[in-house]
Symmetry: C2
Subunit: 332 residues, 2 copies
């Protein structure tokens, strides 16, 4: 236990992210200072946002070459100099792509153990909470409304769509490929699915949303957002959760046509959010999501990559859309 394997950023991607941007290194085991906690990473979350952090400053400072790659982790306390934590505690935090990390106790969040533990990284983790805050907290779908979710086979979209179904909405998911679309309906109970790789989006939205769109939960931006804008109903709401179509490129597309023209003529509201902004909502989300997962109202889809050394390929594949459900790396 004297060495700490970690994945460092070799160079920032100029265009698409590749394996050449990462290297596996052996570093010294870190040691906790006053009020700090040493943690052992169990699972590492892979998220499109990881790539966005490499593009520039977002809600966190831009990542830089030479740093350990950043990532959200589920971990176990090994040694604690903080009164709030003891060895063996399960915690989540911004640990990065490494086997062990040290954080101040105030930046860690204790979580009760449950089986399977992976649910704490998927439906009960940051993506599930994001889906809950965005859909139940902000979007607030009403029974009978038509809700469209993009990246609907992903970690956030799959939960967001199922929450909209629980609220009585008619839910249409957008995903890439026939198999994902089949599973949106079969596994998650969506009312319809659109394959953005093979369908004409404008035409498909017209067919699958004959009454227009009341609420669009957008994980992708770009052309998908543009197509949805043209199909929105009067007074429709667009929840801006992510922009995955624009993360893995040096040349982000211009904004969607219809902004702001269609916002005016259709009186639309577009709202961006980050789950961390509202701790009260997180508590509500954790309680409701656990109930829904336990009683089977929400089906959890997970895509677990084994081994820290496979995290780069896992993220590259995630950006190419190869995952179904929440992708994470089993580190220990």
């Amino acid at each position: 236990m004297t060495s700490n394997r970690q994945i460092q950023i070799v160079a920032m991607p100029e265009d698409k992210l590749g394996p050449e941007h990462f290297r596996l290194e052996e570093a010294e085991m870190p040691s906790p200072g006053p009020n700090e906690v040493l943690c052992r990473t169990l699972y590492l979350s892979l998220d499109p946002a990881n790539r966005a952090w490499m593009q520039g400053a977002t809600y966190r400072s831009a990542l830089q070459a030479g740093q350990v790659m950043a990532g959200f982790t589920l971990a176990e306390v090994v040694e604690s100099n903080h009164t709030g934590f003891s060895p063996g505690d399960l915690v989540e935090g911004d640990g990065g792509w490494q086997e062990y990390f040290v954080q101040p106790g105030k930046r860690l969040n204790k979580r009760p153990r449950r089986e399977p533990i992976t649910h704490l990284m998927s439906a009960l983790g940051i993506t599930g909470r994001t889906a809950h805050y965005g859909m139940a907290g902000i979007g607030q779908p009403e029974p009978g409304e038509t809700v469209v979710v993009s990246a609907a086979a992903g970690a956030t979209g799959s939960v967001a769509g199922q929450i909209a179904k629980l609220k009585g909405a008619r839910v249409v998911g957008i995903a890439g490929g026939a198999e994902k679309c089949r599973r949106l309906v079969a596994d998650f109970g969506f009312d319809a699915a659109i394959d953005y790789k093979n369908d004409n989006l404008f035409q498909a939205l017209k067919e699958k949303c004959p009454d227009g769109i009341d609420l669009y939960f957008d994980n992708v931006g770009g052309q998908t957002l543009e197509a949805a804008l043209f199909r929105m109903n009067l007074h429709g709401r667009i929840i801006c959760c992510g922009v995955v179509s624009q993360y893995d490129t040096a040349n982000p597309a211009p904004g969607p046509r219809g902004v702001p023209g269609l916002l005016v003529t259709k009186r639309l509201t577009m709202r961006g959010f980050l789950v961390g902004d509202n701790p009260d909502m997180v508590a509500t989300a954790d309680r409701e999501l656990a109930t829904w997962v336990d009683d089977g109202s929400i089906v959890v889809a997970e895509d677990v990559v084994d081994g820290l050394e496979n995290a780069p390929a896992g993220l590259i594949g995630l950006l190419a859309g190869e995952n179904f459900g929440k992708r994470m790396v089993k580190v220990a």
Copy 2:
């Protein structure tokens, strides 16, 4: 009184609007049917929206060649078959570019006379109400917030900015040309002005909004919206009132960069609105605006074109930004 001069649309503009798209015709005096009212147009409102109606369906059906050009009017009742109206009543309605028009009584709105009557077309008319609903009703600026208004020398922007000042905000206006910018500060009491024709927008917004932008009241869209997006503060609000930069062209620009990326990272809200959606707000607006105009809290700027035959040139000039304040046509 047997002939009715009117301006008809000859052909829809393919690109920029020009005098060749209109013709002056003499039509027969219309006659009111059951529950209809014959009105004599006193003032005709010229608005950027007139041009938007020629681009396609908006919140009204697209205009078509051969029709009388559409426009909002202040008029006097000549003959009434509706119990709610009597000859001599002052009314506002969708009368179009003509000396006389007939409308069902239910589509007319009676207004109390006041001096000068033109105020009923400017600060107390549709643009003033739009400014009130958008700024006071939706934007709700707080004391000390930084508010930016585009097309700030226009009919809506000039009132919206002054309302934000009344609410205690620091107000920065964007307009075209040094003289307009001078008057934003001198006439309307704005804290600063930016000349979009001569200043670098990104740089100027940085200088004039050192604490960022909390609320952006957008009348123009396009590059101005894009520049504002990059200067917005966390949790900022963007009120989408109009898109004048994109109306007079066959090739609308793509949407602004930063949509939806900056909406997510900065947790912004963009909201479009139309004043007609909320009759309760209109009543509040009429009451508050009249008070503010009467006590001098709001300075009214008007730009009156004389004669129906000059309406086409008046609208073409408005789209080129030659007006200061509310442009209208004195018809009778």
